[in-house]
Structure formats: C-alpha cells, structure tokens
C-alpha cells in the first residue's frame, strides 16, 4: 500500500497568482450569467425532440392510429397513478358480465403497416371491445369489458393489479381474459404508477397476506416496489420531518425553473433518443432475437400461476391466450419458446383455466412498422378485428350462450 500524497498550495506561486487574476470576479460573474442564460434557453428548447425526429425520419417510420378509449379502458402509462385510475372506473351495470382484460400494449395500440396513411379523426375499436360487442349481440345479459393493459406489463405487475381487481373490487370480474406475450416474460419490477395502490390500506393487507404464504420468485420485486414507494413518499427518509418539508419546498420552488419543470419530459425524450440510437447504431431492435430464461422468466411464470389462482379463487373464469406474434419476425429461440408454451398449458391445466395459442392468428400484412422493420407486437385495426374473431371462436361459446 502506498501513501496518498496531499498536494496543497497555501501560497499560490506567481504563475498561479497570474492565473488567479485571470479568473477574476468579473469572469466568475460572467460564467454565472452565461450558465444562467444557457439554463434558461435549454429549459425552453427541445434538442432531443429534433434528434428523435431525425432518428425516426420525422415520424414516418412509426404511425399509430388512435384507438377509441372508453371509461372502462385503462391504459396504464409508467407514471400514471393506478389507484386513482382504477378507483374512477364506473361500476358494472347490473346484470352485465364483467370481463377484465389484462395484457400489454398490443391490447390498445393500432400500428399501421409501412406506407399506410393515418385516417384523420378515425378511432380504432380494440379487439377486447369488439369481442364484447360480438358477445353482447348473441346474449341477452350483455358484457362490460375493462381493459387494464399497460406497455410491457409483466406478470408481477399484472398480479399486483389483480389483487385490487379480485380482492378489493366489489363485485370482482367474472371473467379474466389474460394475454400472455412471451416478450413480456423478460421484464421485471413494479413501476411507480402501479405502486400507488399501496396507498390503499386494504390492498396492503392483501399483499401482506399473499407474501406471508409460500415464497415466490417475484416477492423480492414486490418488496422492492414497496421500498421504492416508501422512499418516494418520504424523500430523505432518514431525516426528521422538518427536513422532508424543506426538501419538498425546495423542489416546488425549483418547479419555477423550466429546466427542472420539464425534467420528466426531457428524461423521456432522452431515453427515447437513447433507445432509437440503440436501434439505429447497434441494430438492436425489438425484433432482435433475445433469450428469455433465468430469473425474469421464473418470476413471471410464478406470478402468472398465482394470478390465475387468485382469479379462480374468487370464482372467475380465466381465459388465457398466447398473444399473436408477427409472422414476419423471429424474435425467440425455439426451444425456449416451446418451454414457455408448455408452461402456459401446464398452468392453465393445473388451475382450471382455458388456454388458446393464438400466436399465428393475425396475418403478416396487418402488422405495423417500427423504426427499422416490422413491428413485432402491434397490428392495425384489421388485426384487432381478426383477434376479436378468433377470441370469440375459441372462448365465445363458453361465455355467451344464445
């Protein structure tokens, strides 16, 4: 071990003194003013948006047709407050069967094929809504569909929100239509928006009860989410209450600064630009083959099994389907994909759920285009129609009897 030398210059040399004079107070003041100016300008311009436009060809390589959103549709974005969203969903009209649809962004996105033009003012009807309409036409009782989908929703998150749906909501949904997309089995964690459910004491009680039972691979994710939520709620939790208030005040004071106020927006644009750079520069896109194994897979499968058990325990029918995949892409390793399908079948069989593999339900021409190639997850309105038809064929007879 060598010693650490401390170099200290208590009396500056003549050269240093010269340099110090060069850095006079005027210069420092100029530096402060110049920095303030740059901060002010940076708070008002969005250089990252220009970068994103450049990387996506001005948006020409990604086109999304808006979908019809109803009160019963929950598209949970990363920052959304899920508790608030779920609490505001209206109760099911009496006599109607309540279907809860849980899945990823495929549920509510209409991605257009390359070259297709957006139709102004047109709103796409999602597969789940089309399915409800089909079922209602055949049955006198009627159906209400709640689509609680979120981008890249993994099964730890799906289970997390299911605790609310099946333990707290009265009456709970009678049918759970569950979309399993292999791509989401590599994701983990419970996003901040979902964590807001921890504000509901009954949810916390149910979560505690669930986590006190057999250990599960996703329990650490739940524990981390609770910790994260607690920490977010009390910035600098180790300090006394007064300090938290001061920190809060400072933060709200900083909100007046555009550079601070727009931080979430800029962060999102920044991460978007990093993602697009990844696609453009490294060629790693959503269609690139990836392994889905290990911890993330185990966590998701265990959460899926518990979710099906939870819904079945409350008396709901569970309809599990393997989501359509774009036939033009090959993003999974065959052996891993086969094992995943076997696991889905095994879970459905063990828990008394129905299972259908709809991976090849949507033809390739109905799929969208994403930056550098075919969109592997999202299709257009025709795709939603085909999926609704297939869902009706497979699960409809059990749901709506004329």
């Amino acid at each position: 071990m060598t010693s650490t030398r401390l170099e200290r210059s208590p009396t500056p040399s003549p050269a240093s003194a010269e340099a110090t004079r060069a850095l006079g107070r005027g210069r420092v003041a100029g530096l402060v003013v110049a920095t303030a100016l740059v901060v002010a300008v940076l708070g008002r311009v969005s250089p990252l948006d220009n970068l994103r436009d450049a990387l996506t060809g001005g948006g020409a390589t990604v086109r999304m047709q808006p979908v019809r959103m109803e009160a019963r549709t929950t598209d949970v974005k990363t920052g959304d407050a899920l508790l608030e969203t779920l609490s505001s969903i209206p109760a099911t009209p009496a006599g109607k069967t309540q279907i809860l649809v849980i899945g990823n962004s495929q549920q509510y996105t209409s991605s257009l094929p390359r070259g297709a033009a957006l139709v102004p003012g047109h709103e796409v009807v999602m597969a789940s809504q089309q399915l409800a309409e089909r079922l209602s036409r055949r049955s006198a009782e009627g159906f209400t569909v709640y689509t609680s989908a979120a981008p890249n929703q993994n099964f730890a998150e799906a289970l997390w929100q299911s605790v609310y749906w099946f333990k707290l909501r009265a009456p709970p949904p009678q049918v759970l239509l569950l979309q399993a997309s292999f791509d989401t089995f590599r994701k983990a964690g419970v996003r901040p928006g979902f964590q807001t459910l921890l504000d509901e004491p009954r949810f916390v009680e149910e979560l505690d009860r669930m986590m006190s039972m057999d250990p599960r691979a996703y329990h650490d994710e739940f524990a981390a989410a609770r910790r994260d939520f607690r920490e977010r709620r009390s910035e600098g939790a180790a300090g006394p209450r007064q300090e938290v208030t001061l920190e809060d005040r400072l933060r709200s004071g900083l909100e007046r600064l555009p550079l601070f106020r727009r931080r979430e927006e800029v962060r999102s644009a920044f991460l978007g630009a990093v993602y697009l750079l990844r696609v453009r520069a490294l060629g790693i896109s959503p269609t690139t083959k990836r392994h889905i194994t290990g911890q993330p897979l185990t966590q998701n499968l265990e959460a899926l099994a518990d979710m099906v058990r939870l819904a079945r325990g409350s008396g709901a029918s569970v309809l599990l389907y393997n989501a359509p995949i774009n036939p033009a892409v090959s993003m999974f390793y065959e052996d891993e994909y086969e094992r995943y399908l076997e696991a889905l079948r095994a879970i459905a069989a063990a828990e008394g759920a129905e299972f259908a593999d709809l991976s090849s339900a949507v033809p390739s021409e109905y799929w969208g285009y994403w930056v550098d190639g075919p969109d592997p997850i999202h299709f257009d309105e025709r795709g939603h129609g085909v999926l609704a038809e297939r869902l009706d064929e497979v699960f409809g007879p059990g749901l709506a009897r004329p």
Partner: protein, 469 residues
C-alpha cells in the same frame, strides 16, 4: 441530509457564503456549527454519540500529550473507542454468534441498536489522532478545532478518512479559497452528483434484480456480469460520494486527499488496494499492517498470516457479518497469492513481463469482482451458490434485458474514458490553470448539461452504499 438532496445543496450554499464572510475563530465556529447541524439532520441522537466520542478523544489526547511514552494512556482510550464502535456495530452479530452456541430455547435477544451514521469513519479518525499523538504528533487545540477533525461534515459520513497532519495545518493556518478553488470545487461537486445519479443509481435496479430471489435461476455468465455490474455500481457510488465530499470541502477552502485512483486498472490485488478507498488503505497500513509486520520480523509466513488477518478486519470494518469477513479474507488471500508469485514474474524477460502485466490485470479484475459477490449477496449460501456457478461455468445464457447489458457497457465506457478525463481535470492545481483560454466559455454549456442530467435523474432518497458502514 443526503448529499444528493436539494436541502444539502442549499445547506452547502449557505455554509460557503458564511465561510467566505467570516475569519478566524468565527469561521471555525461556522464550520463546526454547520457540521453539527448536518449530522443532527440525520438523527439528533447521533450527535450525542459523535460529541461523546469526540470530547473523550480530545481529553484522552491531552493526557497522552502530557505524558508521552506511557502506553497505557494510549491503549485504554483506543479500547474504549473500539468498544463504543463494537456496541453499536457488532452487538447484534455477537449475540447471533452466541445464540448459535446456546441450546435452543435459551437464545439471547438480538438488540436492534441504531447504527450512528459514519461511526466507522470518525472512530478510526479519533484512534489515528491518539496514535499520532503518542508517536509525537502535535495536539490539535482548542476543543472546537479538534472536533472539526472527526466532525467536519464533508467527510464525516463516509470519508475520506483524514490524518491529523494533513487536516490540522489547514485549520491552524486557514486560507480563503480562491475563485479557481471555488470553480474546482464546484466542478467536482457536479461530477460527483452526475456520477451518483446517472451511473450508480441507473445500474442499481439491474443489480438488485440479479441478486434477488437467492439468484437461483442465474447462469454463470449472468453471475459474472452481475459481479462486474456491482463492482461498477459500488465504484461509481462510493467515488461519487468522495467527489462530492472533496468538492464541498474545497468550496470552504479545505483540501482532502484523493480516495480513488481508477481501481479497476490495478494489475495486482495489492495494487487494487492502493487505488480503492485509499484513505482506509493507508490507515490500515500505517496503524495495523506495518506494526504487525515489524513484530513478524523475518518470519515471512507470519507476515502472510498477519496480512490475511488484517484484511479480514478490513472486511469486518465494512459490516457486521460473516460475509464481510470472508470478503476481507478473500482479499487477504489474493494479496498473499500475489506476493508468492511476484518474485517469479520479476524474473521474466521483457516481452513476457508485459504479457504477465496484462494477465495480472485480467486476473485481478476477475478475482476482485468475484469478491463483490460475497460483499453484495444477502446470505453466505447465496454467495456460495453464485460463486460455484461462476467458477464451474454453469450456463452461459444471458437472462436479463438487453438494456441492462447496454447500461453496463455504458458504465464501462464511463469508467474507461470519462473517469480518466475527469481525473486529469481534478489532478490539476486549479490555481495554475490558465482560465483565459476560449475553452473557459464552454463551461456554461457543461454546467447546464450537468444540471439537466441531475434534474432528470434526481432521486435524493437513494442512499449511498457506504453510508451503512
């Protein structure tokens, strides 16, 4: 008051202003008052522990200075300080160990004492003060000035661990920081904040996920990647703390020693400890390793035993747990192994010497990072499982998202390219830099960019890893 909170930045701003407008005794009062406020903001109870140990050390130091050469005057205070450290830090561990030996049903209750923040750091500084006095060092007087030695806020919680001879002269002959000092301090502060918020905090979720659930489903490849990822996380976390500490101190005219020097560039385990947490290394070397080495005399084997023992104590200093002791022992064994083969490599021809240096770097990197598994795993069993998988190459399929791996690559880039640049910048004497060059006016862009990054990634509640020590 976390270093990454806006409260701290406000606190620092006020402290810097007050230090600039005060002189002499008043300035010392300002520095001490600010330090005590900073510490009390974590938990006022901690303050009592800090003041008690500080005042006791001052009193014991006075006794040593009055009658130098009386060993008992040194030993008892050192034992008392170590006892205080042990009560807070190791009682729980000791109770658990005793419980292992007791028959079931007669177990001791494991006390849950709150660990005062930074106690490992300020107790070591107090001990070094007493030893230095015993060896003829100069007493730091009066009490307010002495208390600044362990309590000065930038280094109190997680170092750098100061030595009396480098701190006392700066208090006894204070100087106002020049504009260049202020600029250098500010640069250092910004770099530290950006490193913590952008790099260390961004890699943390991947590490947490990888080490979760007993890591039972991880492949060997993922465990190696996790070891590297945690190595990068802890480096960026701890070195960013040191950057903020060094920058903050500089803003009030105090210069701290460096604590890191690109540790993953090390070509041997010994070299690693010359570059990692350097102020702890020199403390251990000067107060433990050298005296023990002297006792060992020419018995080389005994020196090796002492080396392993000392490194095990370094592990224990980091945390009250068997895993930390094993981590320290691991490093001790690596250092002994390196010493055993060192002679051979010195006899190699030039070309082979170069190759052995590269090999030394690669092996050191791998083994140091493997050691992080012991440090980070929540249980010894998990660490054993992960290490077994790593060294028996059980599975090579990567299981985590591509973005996680890319984040690690970015951190490697930051370590290999940005860190050396930052080091070059920080190594300059700010008072000898020519600020009249046109590049000076690029600073506003850099500052605004850094501020934007800090705002974008700010999460003041993500604690520094070394706070727990």
């Amino acid at each position: 008051m976390a270093f990454t909170s806006y409260t701290y930045l406000l606190f620092l701003f006020v402290a810097v202003i007050l230090c600039r407008i005060t002189r002499g005794v008043t300035r010392e009062h300002v520095l001490l008052g600010a330090s005590l406020v900073f510490y009390a903001a974590w938990d006022p109870r901690f303050l009592l522990v800090l003041l008690a140990i500080g005042v006791f050390t001052y009193w014991a130091g006075g006794r040593i200075a009055r009658q130098r050469g009386t060993l008992s005057r040194l030993v008892w205070p050192v034992v008392a300080i170590l006892l205080a450290l042990s009560v807070f830090k190791y009682t729980g561990m000791l109770a658990e160990l005793v419980n292992l030996a007791l028959p079931s049903g007669s177990a001791l209750t494991v006390p849950s004492l709150v660990l005062p923040l930074g106690i490992s750091f300020f107790t070591f500084e107090c001990i070094s003060y007493l030893i230095d006095l015993y060896k003829g060092g100069k007493e730091l007087m009066p009490l307010r000035r002495f208390l600044l030695f362990p309590a000065f806020w930038p280094h109190m919680v997680a170092g750098p661990i100061l030595r009396l001879k480098e701190f006392a002269p700066q208090l006894e002959n204070p100087r106002q920081p020049t504009s260049a000092d202020m600029l250098a301090g500010f640069d250092r502060l910004l770099v530290g904040l950006a490193k913590k918020l952008v790099l260390a905090n961004s890699i943390a979720p991947f590490v947490d996920q990888g080490f979760a659930n007993g890591a039972v489903a991880n492949s060997a490849l993922d465990n190696w990647i996790l070891a590297l990822a945690f190595g990068l996380q802890i480096y960026f976390d701890f070195s960013s703390y040191s950057d903020i500490a060094i920058g903050s101190a500089r803003l009030v005219g105090i210069q701290f020693p460096e604590n890191f020097n690109l540790p993953y560039h090390a070509r041997s385990p010994t070299d690693f400890w010359n570059r990692w947490h350097m102020t702890l290394s020199r403390w251990i070397r000067d107060y433990l390793f050298f005296p023990l080495n002297l006792r060992a005399g020419k018995r080389v084997w005994l020196r090796y035993v002492y080396l392993v023992l000392v490194m095990s104590l370094v592990g224990l200093w980091h945390g009250a747990g068997l895993a930390f002791i094993l981590w320290g022992t691991w490093h001790g064994l690596l250092m002994v192994g390196h010493r055993l083969i060192q002679g051979t490599s010195q006899r190699l021809p030039a070309w082979a010497g170069k190759a052995s240096e590269i090999l030394g770097w690669a092996v050191t990197l791998a083994l140091v990072n493997a050691g992080w598994i012991l440090f980070r795993s929540p249980t010894i069993a998990q660490a054993g499982r992960m290490l077994r998988s790593m060294f028996t190459v059980r599975g090579v399929t990567p299981a985590f998202g591509v973005n996680d791996y890319l984040m690690i690559l970015f951190c490697i880039f930051a370590y290999l390219v940005l860190e050396p640049l930052a080091k070059k910048l920080f190594d300059r004497d700010p008072n000898a830099v020519d600020y009249s060059r046109w590049t000076f006016w690029l600073r506003p862009l850099g500052y605004a960019g850094a501020l934007q990054l800090i705002f974008m990634f700010d999460r003041s509640n993500v604690a520094f890893i070394y706070f727990q020590f």
